[in-house]
Amino acid sequence: MFFEIKDLTVEVEGKTILRDINLSIDKDEVMVLFGPNGSGKTTLLRAIMGFAGYKVIQGEIIFEGERINNLTIDERARLGLGIIYQHPASIRGVKLHQIASFLTKDDSKIKDLSQRLSLSKHLDRDLNQGFSGGEMKRSELFQIILQDSKFLCLDEPESGVDIENISIMGKVLGEYITKLKKSALVITHTGYILDYINAQKGCVMIDGKLWCVGNPRHMFEKIKELGYEKCKDCLIRKST
């Protein structure tokens, strides 16, 4: 298995947020993670990346056969994990182009992609500082593509982005994932991004637990129709 989580329990600030999570993602496979606000989706991504304060109490995170639980964030990044943040940090005095040039030595790639994502003028600005909501998401997408990770953790890549820009971002992301056969774990509330990437699997997280795995488009339709509460009932019924 390309990426695997086994019996993962995660604590934040002494509180258990995730419980006994199991999931697996193949190479060239995209999984969508649904779930209501506060259910633990971001926590899962942050635990995968190894952020301080997201304490693994139990279980394993395995990437390309290697147990990565004890690796630092940058070690995981260098192994091939990448993240788009739901709420990215902004850093004063550090320019977007500095990061871009660190991520790739290919200047033409920086130029082309920044143009496609309408970020040419942002390259000389401080990272995410004063960027609008949509600009921030484009800057995140820009960076993760330059980083060229093998496994992409995308935390609401399209939230706060207008329809036109969703279409631009969606095309860039979809093309990238398909052409380069990337694997990804994608969080979405709106579902818009599903129109652009070919997701094979979906799962729902409720109260820090993963409830089921299924066809993402089908799941999303049901969630829209019935809401998460009903979805929970149904799944509980199914699993018992």
Binding site: D74, P88, D126, Q147
Partner: protein
């Protein structure tokens, strides 16, 4: 703006100073080739090493000579202190008189350097800078000390007069050593529609610096901005403030200070005082403490008797934000790389409003210092 001057052929400056000293002076911003400079002044201890101007509209003369020969020097001498009813130390020796004549726009900066050479020498200079109506200039002053200048002192008095519609960007780079005592005193009188930008950069160790330069916004629509970038080493005490006094309507000012303590003590003061309504001002102090032993004390002050003013301040002190480090780590930077890029970003020279060439010089200096400090 009457005329825009272009560079005449470069003129290499000669001194009898030792190679070591020339290197130190160069590293604080002096370009001996004068390739990209409008004029130069160098004083070591009491001795004027050279003064040189490459443009008609520009006078650069030592203070004693200026007081004898140039009527304006006499007329303006001590005037800024009188304006604030303040006393100032007498018995100075040397210093520069710089005048940029009406309408003269100098694209290339003027450079000046005050250098300490002998052991225990007490340098005491008085500078006078007059930027006449509509003139525009960048002045870069390097202050540094020879390796042999043990326990030396520097007292620098500066008076700036930025006349109607004129622009002065004054950038001072301090590169002293761990046993130097320094006390600059300066006042700028800024007239109608004029702009005064004062940049202060201190990256090297120093024993003690105490300064509280003041800008008086005297004419309407005058502007001032003070920017300081301070790297404080163990054993250094740097008490550095900036004060703006608003005496006319529609004036604006900004005071920005960035201090990093590697173990030294920084007192970052700021004082905005409006004596009239309709002023706009902002004070910002950010401090990063990178060593347990470091201290940063921010003291922002604001005063106004009027309601119709817009004055604000912002101060933040602490260690590097964990979230910023983690963000960069998730992009593949190591923890050390992340720390170093954040620290460099913190000392961003973009705030100084400098032309590309000068900016680059200061960036290089910063990179060199920061590299050797971590």
């Amino acid at each position: 703006m009457k005329s825009v001057k272009t560079a005449s052929s470069g003129k290499v400056l000669n001194t009898n100073l030792k190679k070591n000293d020339v290197e130190i002076i160069s590293s604080s911003g002096m370009d001996f080739s004068q390739d990209k400079r409008s004029g130069s002044f160098l004083q070591s201890d009491n001795k004027i090493e050279f003064m040189n101007t490459l443009y008609d509209g520009l006078d650069i003369i030592d203070m004693e000579t200026a007081l004898k020969k140039i009527p304006e020097a006499k007329k303006y001498y001590a005037r800024a202190f009188k304006e604030l009813k303040r006393d100032f130390p007498k018995g100075t020796k040397g210093g520069y008189f710089i005048r940029v004549k009406k309408g003269t726009v100098l694209k290339l900066p003027i450079q000046a350097c005050l250098f300490l050479k002998q052991k225990a020498f007490k340098q005491k200079v008085h500078n006078l800078i007059i930027i006449e109506e509509g003139a525009k200039v960048y002045l870069i002053t390097g202050c540094s000390a020879s390796k042999s200048a043990f326990h030396a002192h520097h007292l620098g008095i500066s008076e700036f007069f930025v006349k109607k519609g004129a622009y002065l960007n004054f950038t001072m780079i301090h590169s002293w050593k761990e046993d130097t005592f320094v006390k600059p005193m300066s006042i700028a009188i800024v007239e109608e529609d004029a702009t005064f930008i004062s940049n202060y950069i201190s990256l090297k160790p120093v024993k003690e610096v105490q300064m509280y330069p003041t800008a008086v916004l005297k004419g309407k629509s005058a502007r001032a901005s003070f920017n300081s970038l301070i790297l404080s080493h163990p054993g250094s005490v740097q008490d550095i403030g900036s004060r703006v006094i608003f005496k006319a309507k529609n004036t604006q000012a900004e005071v920005i200070s960035r201090a990093i303590s590697l173990g030294g003590k920084v007192i970052a003061r700021g004082h905005l005082k409006s004596e009239v309504p309709q002023v706009k001002a902002h004070l910002e102090c950010r401090g990063l403490i990178l060593s347990e032993k470091g201290t940063i004390h921010a003291i922002p002050e604001m005063e106004s008797d009027y309601r119709d003013v817009n004055m604000s301040h912002e101060a933040a002190i602490g260690k590097i934000n964990k979230e910023e480090i983690e963000y960069l780590c998730s992009r593949g930077f190591t923890r050390n790389q992340a720390q170093s890029i954040i620290v460099r970003g913190f000392m961003d020279v973009d705030v100084l409003g400098l032309p590309q060439e000068l900016k680059q010089g200061i960036e290089d200096l910063e990179n060199k210092t920061l590299q050797s400090s971590f």
